[in-house]
């Protein structure tokens, strides 16, 4: 057992954070690669180009990796951290539902570019989920 004080973190928590950081960096690299390929397909009458297909494939792999890392992060968390993550996820789910409905309504009224709005909604949901976790954690200190 490592020597530690009240101000230091438990070794299993340090290990958990390091693993989360490693996973997060790996996902960040994939998503960055997707961004470098492009932020939206430029499909014309001929159909999607190789660049569009590459963009879609890398983006999809990045998102799947992000979801997998989020799930693994949940599995590694202790019971209080899981509780916090679920609480934040519940609020985020409601916001995303509202956002999806609003986007659908605006799209039906022909007022928006659905592709951009869904991207914003997706990225926003990840940011909101993360921020809510930090906020709940901060408030429970």
């Amino acid at each position: 057992m490592n020597k530690s004080t009240n101000h230091l973190e438990s070794t299993n928590e340090i290990k958990r954070r390091k693993t989360n950081l490693r996973d997060g960096l790996a996902v960040g690299v994939i998503l960055l690669a997707a961004l470098l390929v492009g932020s939206a397909p430029q499909v014309d009458s001929v159909g999607p180009s190789m660049r569009d297909i590459a963009w879609a494939a890398i983006s999809y792999v990045g998102v799947l990796a992000l979801l997998l890392v989020s799930y693994l992060g949940y599995r590694r968390a202790d019971e209080r951290q899981k509780h916090i993550q679920l609480k934040a996820a519940a609020v985020t789910f409601l916001v995303v539902m509202l956002g999806l409905f609003t986007a659908e309504m605006l799209y039906a009224l022909n007022g928006i570019n659905l592709n951009s709005v869904i991207q914003i909604l997706f990225i926003g949901s990840i940011v909101l989920w993360t921020m809510l976790q930090k906020l709940i954690e901060y408030r429970s200190r």
Partner: protein
């Protein structure tokens, strides 16, 4: 639920981080339990009680007013 976890921990001269390591949880979780901001699950409560060689009732007390 109130508890005297801090008292037992101090008696054993363990830090919150050390106790967290023994229970497989974070230091913040130990702190949250000690300060009454988080009630542990039954399995964790059993684990805590077992670690100190006590029963759950020796450490955790149900407070109907809280």
């Amino acid at each position: 639920v109130t508890n005297i976890l801090r008292q037992f921990r101090v008696e054993h001269k363990w830090s919150q981080a050390e106790l967290g390591d023994r229970l497989g949880v974070s230091r913040q979780t130990i702190n949250a339990i000690e300060t009454g901001r988080y009630d542990p699950s039954l399995p964790l409560a059993f684990k805590i009680a077992g670690l100190f060689g006590k029963s759950i009732e020796d450490i955790f007390v149900f407070d109907s007013n809280s």
